[in-house]
């Protein structure tokens, strides 16, 4: 506070100095800025820097937690993407996935059983599959369902909640949402209308598998694609992780939990938490387990359904693949359906 009282005196001294032209104007401005900074700092409440330091520590820890947890899965997803690029051709895709919207959406939802990726890895893989001619409806339902409908997540959910209702409903509702959104996107005739130009246009990858390539060469190319794509998507993972860490650090979760009573608010709070926490679907069951007893079954279920489909880091990556209005639907429809499911359970089932 001492500098605050000195402030008028310093101003007078500076003005005197400028008028006397004994030192340069830049030096005076520097001094003024320094004084202003000192004043601002002195006006900050006591303990501000301790608080800020603590918060930054928390931020760094949370950021590293989210990022380190997600990176291996992104790597896995980009590696799968590389393998798809070099080993799969468009004909194979058309053989495996039906062109009929309903069948394509359902088969897309179950593709996670073949490609067990979580929400970080599924984005680059879906992008690659689109390039290989995967129908839009199948790709969208794969994008939304794969983080839940895959063997790893099924086992981790069963480990946390047992082979019971939570696992069953998580699986069923995720499937219904993914297929519904897939069907909605099947109304879009041209994939290019919802995919970003870099996706829809000519392939920007410089690495392609040639017909005569040996397996060794193909794997080498797949790894090169993996590296390219990993760094391409990785920056959005970093950005998303930073945003999620920032929200977790500066938005009080205890305050959120405190207001999360009632059948409607509890679901909304859990949906919001799912977005903010940005936990990988392979481990989110164990976090959700901590909410049981504090939140209703329906609320916890909506957390487990919506979280793998939409969180901050996945939205950041969606924006690199889809146009904004498509992302709006990819986020909005699952949000409303998860909310509806949570409400039905809260009011009528559990």
């Amino acid at each position: 506070m001492f500098s605050f009282y000195l402030f008028p005196l310093v101003i007078i001294l500076c003005v005197e100095t400028i008028t006397s032209k004994r030192i340069s104007r830049n030096a005076v401005l520097f001094i003024l800025l320094a004084v202003l900074l000192a004043v601002t700092l002195s006006l900050l409440p006591e303990g501000f820097f301790t608080w800020l330091w603590d918060k930054l520590n928390v931020f760094a820890t949370v950021f590293l937690g989210i990022f380190v947890e997600a990176v291996p899965y992104l790597l896995l997803g980009t590696f799968a993407s590389g393998l798809v690029e070099v080993f799969m051709d468009r004909d194979a895709m058309s053989r495996w996935v039906s062109n009929r919207p309903g069948a394509a959406a359902i088969s897309g939802a179950f593709m996670g059983m073949v490609f067990p990726v979580c929400e970080c890895g599924v984005v680059p893989l879906t992008r690659r599959l689109f390039k290989k001619g995967l129908p839009l409806s199948a790709g969208i339902s794969f994008l939304l369902a794969a983080p839940v409908l895959n063997p790893i997540v099924i086992i981790s959910t069963a480990s946390a909640f047992g082979w019971g209702e939570m696992l069953l409903w998580r699986f069923v509702i995720s499937l219904v949402i993914a297929v519904t959104v897939g069907l909605v996107f099947s109304a879009q005739g041209e994939a290019a209308e919802v995919l970003r130009p870099v996706m829809a246009g000519d392939d920007h990858d410089h690495i392609h598998a040639e017909a005569g390539d040996s397996v060794r060469e193909k794997i080498r190319k797949a790894l090169l694609i993996t590296v390219d794509e990993f760094f391409d998507m990785g920056r959005y993972l970093v950005l998303g992780s930073m945003l999620a860490a920032g929200l977790q650090t500066f938005v009080s979760q205890s305050a959120l939990l405190a207001i999360g009573s009632g059948p409607v608010l509890s679901v909304l709070v859990m949906l919001l938490l799912a977005v903010i926490l940005s936990i990988c679907s392979t481990v989110d069951s164990f976090v959700a387990l901590g909410f049981t007893g504090v939140f209703s079954f329906g609320s916890v279920l909506s957390f487990l359904v919506f979280g793998p489909m939409v969180d901050i880091k996945s939205v950041m990556m969606y924006l690199q693949v889809f146009k904004r209005r498509a992302v709006f639907y990819i986020v909005g429809i699952p949000f409303l359906m998860s909310l509806a499911a949570g409400l039905v359970f809260n009011y009528f089932v559990k």
Partner: protein, 453 residues
């Protein structure tokens, strides 16, 4: 452009429909009010200490719930909060037989959000008839069986490959914990439901021996005796010490940090706060209050089990002591409220009755004691008496038999015990005495009988 409009129209329409559905769900849900579920079985048949959980579809405190939940006829117990949505009625006394209890939830607000229960809901419960759990040994194996109190409907509860060494029944009667040898030569603790079937491993003791499990009233903690394995297989096991495992938290630790305090025959007080055990090395009964850590010692040379008064303030135990009449087995009564211990029975006896197996019933005015009927008789009879009057009746007094291990049912109205015929063929039998009768009956063959409420 046409397809884009079509796509947007479809997507937005779906979102609008979903919004309408959400609105309708909220409207209908609010109209229906808060729902309440319980874990009362469909047939309403429950154990005598059945805890009944009420789960609300909205958050509720135990205080508000107590205003909405009633029980007819009135029964002593309390409501505890399990989580934000559930409360549980915990009976402090067993539900009576042949009485139909009705739990009722009445309409009313459950919290400040003005959500309310709108419909009256009822659940009726009746207490099931208790069964008897016991061990049958045959061909080197020993398994736990159960039968009704008439000796009918015997069924095996543990797998045929399991060799049961000791067991205890939960107060609720819902499960049994038993000890069984493992492949390492150690002894593990296992758990099996009252209906039998696959047992689950409760405590992997590795090379140690974990024996004589005793489940605390409330069914949350289990005390047991643990002998640590020697450093090498050829070295003997360590002395037994009392351990307690908490089934909710998983915490498992020795009761006494001092490794020189040994322990056999752990016994819980009825309020589950105190634990008594016998140290055969020092000839003391160790009694610890697990809430405060208070540790008391009571000299005893017999090692017989301690038995508690129903209110957990007093306990009886036996010891052998020199009196004016000579060496006598005494029944001592320790009062924890006055910190006094007195010679209760035996000080003036003409001969040594070798008192053993004293068991205080859940009724304050009833206890049982095994004693020698005559100076020249090795066999023991069972004497039911009123501790305040020291007046009673012999309910099992055939001198061809010896009787021990009496077990009261939760109401204190029936007594199970073990009897051995000493003359003739060895045949361990299970006897039963019921209130209103002067004589007991044999209900089956087996050992270690316990009530399975």
């Amino acid at each position: 452009m046409k397809s884009r409009l079509s796509f947007d129209t479809v997507a937005l329409s779906v979102m609008v429909v979903l919004a309408v559905v959400i609105g309708a769900v909220i409207l209908l849900g609010e109209g229906a009010g808060v729902r309440v579920r319980t874990d009362v079985p469909v047939d309403g048949i429950v154990g005598p200490f059945q805890k009944v959980t009420f789960t609300f579809s909205d958050k509720i405190s135990a205080e508000i719930a107590s205003g909405l939940i009633s029980l007819d006829p009135i029964h002593e117990g309390y409501l505890e909060s399990l989580d934000d949505y559930s409360v549980r009625f915990v009976p402090l006394k067993p539900f009576e037989r042949d009485v139909t209890y009705t739990f009722k939830v009445i309409p009313g607000e459950i919290n400040s959000t003005t959500r309310e229960v709108k419909e009256v809901q009822n659940w009726q419960v009746q207490v099931r008839e208790p069964r008897v759990a016991y061990v049958v040994s045959a061909e080197g194996q020993s398994g736990i069986w159960s039968m009704d109190s008439f000796g009918r409907g015997a069924k095996r509860l543990t797998d045929e490959t399991v060799k049961v060494l000791s067991f205890d029944v939960a107060q609720s009667g819902e499960f049994i914990v038993f000890s069984s040898q493992n492949q390492n030569g150690g002894i593990d603790l296992w758990r099996v439901s009252r209906e039998g079937g696959d047992a689950s491993l409760l405590m992997d003791c590795g090379f140690d021996r974990c024996t004589t499990p005793v489940i605390a009233p409330g069914d949350v903690r289990i005390a047991y005796s643990r002998e640590a394995a020697g450093p090498t297989p050829d070295l003997p096991f360590g002395s037994p010490r009392i351990w307690v495992v908490d089934l909710e938290s998983g915490a498992n630790q020795a009761v006494y940090e001092d490794q020189s305090i040994l322990g056999y025959s752990p016994t819980w007080s009825p309020d589950a706060n105190r634990l008594a055990s016998f140290d055969g090395l020092t000839d003391f009964i160790n009694m610890i209050d697990l809430r405060t850590g208070e540790h008391l010692l009571f000299p005893s040379t017999t090692g017989g089990p301690v038995t508690w008064s129903p209110d957990s303030t007093r306990f009886m135990y036996t010891t052998f002591d020199q009196t004016e009449q000579g060496g006598r087995t005494l029944v001592k009564l320790a009062d924890l409220t006055t910190s006094e211990t007195l010679n209760f029975i035996g000080e003036k006896d003409q001969y040594d009755y070798s008192y053993y197996s004293v068991a205080w019933s859940p009724r304050e005015d009833r206890a049982v004691l095994s004693l020698r009927a005559a100076e020249d008789q090795p066999t023991k009879i069972l004497w039911i008496f009123d501790p305040s009057l020291l007046d009673g009746i012999v309910i099992a007094g055939d001198t061809d038999y010896t009787y021990n291990s009496p077990q009261w049912d939760v109401w204190g109205s029936a007594l199970l015990f073990q009897q051995f015929k000493l003359k003739g063929q060895y045949a361990p039998e299970i006897g039963l005495w019921q209130e209103g009768s002067n004589q007991s009956v044999v209900i089956g063959e087996g050992i270690m009988p316990q009530w399975l409420p």
